[in-house]
Point group: C2
Chain length 230, copies 2
Amino acid sequence: MSRASYQDIQAEVRRRIQTRVWKPGDTIPTEVDLAKEFNCARATINRALRELAETGLLERRRKSGTRVSLNPMRKATLDIPITRLEIEGRGQTYRHKLLESQQVSAPDALSAEMNLGRSQMLVHLKTLHMADGRPFMYEDRWINPKAARGILRAKLAEVSANEWLVQNVPISHGDIAFQALGADTDQAAALGVTVGTALFIIDRLTWMGTQTVTKVRLAYGPGYRMVTQI
Amino acid sequence: MSRASYQDIQAEVRRRIQTRVWKPGDTIPTEVDLAKEFNCARATINRALRELAETGLLERRRKSGTRVSLNPMRKATLDIPITRLEIEGRGQTYRHKLLESQQVSAPDALSAEMNLGRSQMLVHLKTLHMADGRPFMYEDRWINPKAARGILRAKLAEVSANEWLVQNVPISHGDIAFQALGADTDQAAALGVTVGTALFIIDRLTWMGTQTVTKVRLAYGPGYRMVTQI
DNA sequence: CAGTTTATTATGTGCAGACATAATATGATT
DNA sequence: AATCATATTATGTCTGCACATAATAAACTG
């Protein structure tokens, strides 16, 4: 057999699993053996198998070897949508409208969630994102000015809050949650649907170290689907 | 500086991006330069940066180099929940009940979606998954017996359809979609909610080559959230 | 000056060899 | 038999080097 690249090896491993040459639960040959079979270096086999393990297709353990995962569909990577690009990608025109912008002291529930002191001042924004002039997504955002310095001077009617934050505020990590909720009055009014309509919700809480930068709830209009492949 | 592992390098790169030593859009030093700075081989730098690029934090191009991504939160990996494990992981008891099981010829809309010939015979299952005896998720599944041989003889009241399929049917890939929908009458009755209640929906279409194996719609009861970190 | 060819450059992938590490198996000891 | 120490094994990571490849810059050409 001629030389094989790590991608060729991945394809062949996938094929053997799909055709049940290697069945779920089976231990596959060692890297050394596979390197011999494919006439390549162990490092090449290692990379091929390591990446397959990252997708959940294989499970690897030192000493005991590499097994075909019992449940082959365990991890999906999905692209966090950037609203403007998502809309423009469909050939539609993107526009957003800042419906409301105020500074308020954080409600208690939010203080707890955002890890803030009592009555911390926050910037509260309500924005409607539109595709071809029609409501697409309603954004309810809280920003911690202690972490997002300069936000008070930013012209948020021109640049969207998200883009301003990305450009100006360092972040370390974020928590994301997806769920379905019935539209509340704000969401219903903004999106032009009746209260209680099922909406796809994305909550995102963004951190810099132990400090929260921003919490945002995105409420998508009816018909919205988030899609991925495995 | 002493030797650094690829994970140390990743941590340091992350730190420099978070602290804005390297800002969004900046081009960072070349692999050769970083290898000198960190006193390690280029391959080590390559692995560190390649993996960061996979998460969307960096963007790499031959010749032009590696830049800090303008939008640092672009990809999230999320675990496809395995219902039984998800429930047991909360310390609750898992049970499922096969509500309905019949063989029917595929409706036209489904034939198109599942890439079937006209009036293809399908197995149609309705299952309720319960946590501590309370409704948790309602599953509506269509199985193509041409691709899932043996399904007609499987005892689906004992083993869940999903587990039977995983163990017995080879698959190549799948399409997954997430959305919010108001409960229909079946879902409402099974989950014990009123029609129209916002439900979190996962649709999954599973393929073996050009043939569809199974299409399933999972409707989660109110309060369900799918969570991930970035 | 526009268009094409050629060189340059940073990343992409590969190799052989080495040592590290976690998990397991084996053997020794009580 | 149960416990502990030791050897074995497969994967995990790293090195130093090489060549491939895509994207860009430079040189050339009409």
